[in-house]
């Protein structure tokens, strides 16, 4: 056993990739997330081709080796997600991108990653379902993001709405995953994935990059190290650092001991995971608001739909003087119930336009049912709502 804690020479991979120089670029959403990932220090991409996420993978295959990272096309999505677990414990940040059917295949590994508290980032460029559905955009995987993995594990999921946010929120996803030692999902619609837009890249020192907490930095010696203890977010020793970590995803005590099972130990283990994320929802989750002052009706939206929702709101103000409020969930999970209740007082109707048959409508209703007369879902399948369509549904309801 090493007397002194020391870092592994892990990653012969360069930890300082060659970032995009500050400036303005014209990129596709599927590509911008890769630039964001590299900026966050991601070194490994393991993926499997699937439409409409495949541009992400193609772009990663070009970019990762250029910066000293590694890209691998795995045999399937199951293997891709499992490889992220290996890479993450091997000491680097790792990511993949997929779409509906592939996302389903990754659920087992996501559950294992939650239980073993493995930081990793999965980007889901959502296509329409169920089944093969169609390769057009949807927001149909957002409940799967929260509940798709087996067991009772919490998750962090973000919803970017632009190419800029594909870059920004991917960095944020890595930061959240390292900060909270948990898998983080970026839930994107095909619309945003395939969107071409300007991307403003700030200089590297303007970007906050968070690294996982290490036992070495806290002066914890291998013999005293608890891979799942010490704090609500345990410091993480990577493999190869002499800490002799026994990775487990079975119900475990803080030191990874699995032989002393009891219902109490089970409860403690899973409740701690839940509290880590749900108990810190106010630190983790972000929402964006506009025009809320004195509004009778508001739109709560996320992702690509927030772009047309905003246009609908501006049109309504200019054309008929109808004052609609705007709330955008930047973070889908953990669900920011408290924050929503803080900003939404007494309103008449809450409209929830979604590219599914009404999924986020449910947690929104649960959070705000006593704050409004009615929550109205505005679903759309296969196509992004137009501002006119959103407005027509709103007028239908309130006239």
């Amino acid at each position: 056993m090493p007397k002194k804690a020391r870092r592994s020479e892990a990653a012969t991979i360069s930890p300082e990739p060659h970032f995009l120089k500050p400036g303005k670029y014209y990129l596709q959403g599927n590509q911008a997330c890769i630039e964001g990932a590299l900026m966050a220090g991601c070194c490994v991409y393991a993926g499997y081709p699937i439409t409409p996420a495949v541009e992400t993978m193609e772009y990663a295959s070009k970019r990762f080796p250029q910066v000293g990272g590694r890209f691998i096309q795995m045999e399937d999505e199951i293997a891709s997600a499992c490889a992220l677990i290996g890479s993450s414990w091997g000491g680097v940040k790792a990511m993949t991108a997929t779409s509906g059917p592939g996302f389903s295949l990754m659920q087992e590994a996501i559950s294992i990653a939650i239980m073993s508290e493995t930081p990793m980032v999965i980007i889901d460029i959502q296509r329409a379902g169920p089944g093969q559905g169609y390769i057009t955009a949807s927001q149909q995987d957002i409940m799967q993001a929260r509940w798709g993995h087996h067991g009772d594990g919490p998750i962090i999921a973000l919803a970017p709405s632009s190419v800029q946010e594909m870059f920004d929120l991917t960095i944020e996803a890595f930061n959240l995953s390292e900060r909270w030692r948990t898998p983080v999902l970026v839930m994107v619609e095909e619309t945003v994935g395939h969107m071409w837009e300007s991307l403003i890249v700030p200089s590297r020192d303007e970007i906050e990059v968070i690294e996982r907490k290490k036992p070495q930095d806290l002066g914890i010696m291998p013999q005293d190290y608890l891979p799942w203890g010490h704090d609500i977010v345990a410091p993480m020793a990577n493999w190869g650092e002499g800490y002799n970590v026994n990775f487990v995803a079975l119900v475990h005590l803080e030191d990874g001991n699995i032989s002393r099972y009891s219902p109490q130990a089970n409860y403690h283990c899973v409740e701690r995971l839940q509290n880590k994320i749900e108990g810190n929802v106010n630190q983790i989750a972000r929402i964006e608001t506009k025009f809320l002052e004195g509004c009778k009706h508001i739109i709560v939206c996320y992702g690509a739909v927030s772009r047309t929702a905003m246009e609908a709101i501006i049109d309504a103000r200019e054309m008929s003087g109808l004052e609609l409020g705007y709330v955008r969930l930047v973070t889908l999970w953990p669900f920011p119930e408290e924050k929503l209740r803080e900003i939404i007082g007494d309103v008449d109707t809450i409209f929830v336009p979604e590219m599914n048959l009404g999924m986020m409508k449910h947690p929104i209703t649960e959070a705000l049912r006593d704050r409004c007369r009615k929550v109205v879902s505005i679903p759309s399948l296969g196509i992004l709502h137009s501002p006119e369509y959103i407005l027509s549904k709103i007028y239908e309801e309130i006239s």
Binding site: A10, A83, G86, N244
Partner: protein, 283 residues
Amino acid sequence: MKRHPMLKYLKEEGPMGPRMPLIFCPGCGSGQVLNYTLHAVDEIIGEDKIRKEQFLFISGIGCSGRITSHYLNFDSAWTIHGRALAVATGALLANPAFKIIVFTGDGDTGSIGGNHFIHACRRNIDVTILCLNNGLYGMTGGQHAPTTPIGTITTTTPYRNREAAFDLCKLAEIAGASYVARWTTAHPRQVIKSIMKGIRKKGTAFIEILSQCPVHERMLPVALLKRFKESTIRISKTEESRHGKTPIGEFCDVDRKEWNESYQEIIDQFLAVNGKAHEQIVD
């Protein structure tokens, strides 16, 4: 009492209590394979310039999976059923210096993890795979496996198994593994030698170890070990002179470029033109 020499590589105690005894049933082959593996690792640490911290043990689920579960005083991972090789691939992408030993079973490798298995061999990733083949699913209660011989009664083949069994060594060889061998738990010295060869081999080494399950086979461990001796024959013997016995020995030992070695060539190209890399892609 004299302590077992390999106990130095096991965790008898963790910060939160004892981690012993091992979970294995009396007479199980898993303990033997663990013993052989630690002997091989011990020799490698002694002879080669490989540090203990470089070793990483990864397993899937099943009886073989429990070898890494929490007794090993090494970095180890007890991962997902069939997916140990996918996790190992990821670990090697992060750090090619790892010396990875994967413990797996016949169901783990041949059935649920079959795809990961053939692709690990095809890519020739630098791992040593130890496949404990007991011909059934031990942990779940003795169901038939893709390695169960035709005609065997198990808990899910009450009317005898009708499916042909996989030859995992042939599969590994054809898929591209650099080193392939088969032994049994009754061949300790050969197994240790093979594992050492496997660890030293740059690329995928697949070592199948026929391992007894006295509980589900309802036989004494000694009788099962004896049967291993009698029912196996060296691979060097011609097909006709094997009389239907299971061939054991080294099936292949070749040198082929390992995945990371090969990928490093791509990275090196760009290291040469560093700094300009991004401009080539983003216009």
